[in-house]
């Protein structure tokens, strides 16, 4: 279980997050809504370990991990712009995390190829990532995130760069994948429809505080 306890953060002099408390159970998808600039992405960065909170703690499965560097958390973060590495092929993008886990390069690639097969992307394995469409890129990003068997999944507006039809179909695909993997998942979005489609529970960030939506 992922837990945030009394998290506060400032942006300059402004209090961006004030005493945030939230827990996400394994296999649960919680949507985090709020207008742009409300601090959603900051909260996600704190969970991922990319930012340190001013005060408060992040816990995972009974362990305090607030100061743990991001590479040791094994949380997968997915970005609005996909953040695929442009200098690597699709295959090597997916294999990136495995190589960091000290897996042999050929083994990592073999595993990555299996993963790509699951997502129907085998034909693109040797392509550079910018040859792919938006939807394909986002699938590669998900494959890259899931292959390391992360302990939690953090999604930062994952579908906002895609067009409406694709968004709907990818939403279902992602939901199935996430539930199969059984991880606590935090979905940041400003689209309430998307939140309803994917998440059983939703909270809204308003003036630095969380309020439960459903």
């Amino acid at each position: 279980m992922l837990e945030l306890r009394h998290i506060s953060q400032n942006y300059g002099d402004r209090a961006l997050l004030q005493d945030i408390n939230l827990s996400v159970a394994a296999g649960e998808i919680v949507a985090l809504l709020g207008p742009s600039g409300s601090g959603k992405s900051t909260l996600l960065a704190i969970v991922a370990g990319l930012q340190q909170p001013l005060s408060g703690n992040v816990w995972f499965d009974g362990q305090e991990i607030t100061r743990l560097p991001p590479e040791q958390r094994r949380f997968a973060l997915m970005f609005q712009d996909f953040a695929l590495f442009p200098h690597l092929t699709v295959l090597d993008n997916v294999a990136f995390g495995l190589i960091e886990q000290r897996l042999d390069k050929s083994q990592a690639r073999a595993k990555a190829l299996d993963m790509l097969a699951l997502f129907g992307l085998v034909d693109h394995a040797r392509h550079k990532v910018w040859h792919l469409s938006g939807g394909e890129q986002q699938r590669v990003a998900l494959a890259r995130a899931l292959i390391t068997q992360p302990r939690a999944l953090l999604l930062d507006e994952p579908f906002s760069a895609l067009d409406a039809d694709l968004r709907a179909s990818l939403r279902d695909e992602f939901k199935t994948c996430i539930q199969a993997a059984g991880m606590p998942t935090l979905l940041v979005t400003h689209d309430e429809q998307e939140a309803r489609a994917m998440a059983a529970r939703a909270v809204r960030l308003v003036d630095g505080r969380l309020e439960a939506l459903w």
Binding site: A45, A48, G49, L50, Q52, R67, P69, P70, E71, Q72, R73, R74, F75, A76, L77, F79, D81, A83, F85, P86, H87, F96, G97, E100, Q101, K128, W130, R144, A145, T148, L154
Partner: protein
Amino acid sequence: MFFLRNWGRLQSSLWLGLLPAAALLLLLIAPLARLTLTGFTGEASWPGAAPSTWSLWTPWQDDYLRWRVLWSLAQAGITCVLAFVLGLPLAWVLARFEFAGRTLVLRLLMLPFVVPTLVAALGVLALWGPRGLLSGWLGVNLQDTPWLLLYGNLFFNLCLVVRAGVDALGQVNARQVAAARSLGATPWRAFWRIEWPAIAPWLMSSLCLVFLYCFAGFGLALVLGGQRFATVEVEIYTLVAHELQLGQASVLALWMLGLTGSVALLYALLEKRLAAPNRVQPLARRRPQGVAQWLALTAALAVLFAICALPILAIVWRALDAGWKVWGTLLDAEVTAALWNTLRFSTMALALATLLGVQHALAAQRSVAWRTAAFLPFVVSPVTVAFGLLLLYPSWTASLPLLLAAYAVLAYPFVAKSMAAGLDSLPQHLLQAARTLGASPQRTFWRVTLPLLRPALRRGMAFAAATALGEFAVTLFLSRPEWATLTTLIYRRLGHPGAASLDQAFVLASVLMLLALLAFLLIEWPVSEGYERRRPAIGALPVGALHHA
């Protein structure tokens, strides 16, 4: 704990910055301080020099020196005006018209950035000098007129303004222009009210650089200025090397430092005002339509050809025309030694400059002051640097380490700047993605940052290599006779009377040119990374790329 983490980052920045900081301090700031001291006290320490009767104000009281200072300012100003008047229409044509070979022309615009100053000077001589291709044909004699120097200045700086203009025009948002047009503005009015305000700061900042280069330039003025139209930099060199008047020279150098410093400050202020470009939808280029537009395009390309390509072609022509006997002199011991010196000095300096540049860029990521410090070697003229080194380390003036260190300090800002721009444009998300996928900061650097910055590093190295190959001023001041490089050898040949030595100079210049081109192609050309091409061209402009040594 939070504090400790920050302290850790600060510490790594400090360690990274140590070497470049030491280099800047020992090879730039300390010599300048020494120079300033000498300038203020007016003391000449050269043995056998005449007692000094100089004060800080002499350059403005003495007619001869006042002319030198005023002419230095004037030629820089005139070049700016010419470069602007010619450059803006050229940039507009290149930015807005689509035609076959456009990309090639844009690439060729980079050429003057790698042409050594002395080669450029010889190019101008080959066209307009004694027995020059054009002067001979037209029957004019431009020796002892200001035109040679101004032409040389334009050769370098027109390309700079045009490139800045093309990049800036690419940043003009098509939607804004469309909005202006739909609100009733004619194309001409839309240009003045929308495009011009958007590009003016970029052009002004490039003109600041043009002024700086012309004002602090040495090689062109030395070869093309003649007796009457040489600049202050040449005067400083003459005072130091021929008249042994170090006190007088240092007063002049002090004034130069003050004047270039002010222009550099202006440039820095302008640069600061240039907001980071947003993602804009650039205006679509279109094929020229009608006779008038095709004429405009042809005229633009003709002007560009006449100013930026013709001098280079003229050298090649004159060198080929020189005959086998002159080419045979390339095998002379003196020439092969110079070639060898050029190659080994440049290689060693490039290695050193790359190390310094990468470290500086990494250290400068979190510090604006550090970032600005990388510009210091651009701002200070090589003559001033060399003179300062001469004053500060008199016993080391003929030592190889000092010479190489000076080379490296003058060349490394290219690497630092290119790398810093690359680091800035690196999407933070990529680094964050790597971290969350399990890569430590060091692993992220090796696996993501460095591969993505390779094109930037190569570009920086290309310019650094070209600078080192064409280095002239420092070599003239600090080297021993047996350490002659191609540039100093060319200069020596120019000093010899007779057509034969002039021909030899042209042959040597074409060899040097070939080397610079080769270094540039080796390092810069095969950038086939697709994502590079998809990126906007901002940052591609090697601001501060010209070093008029």
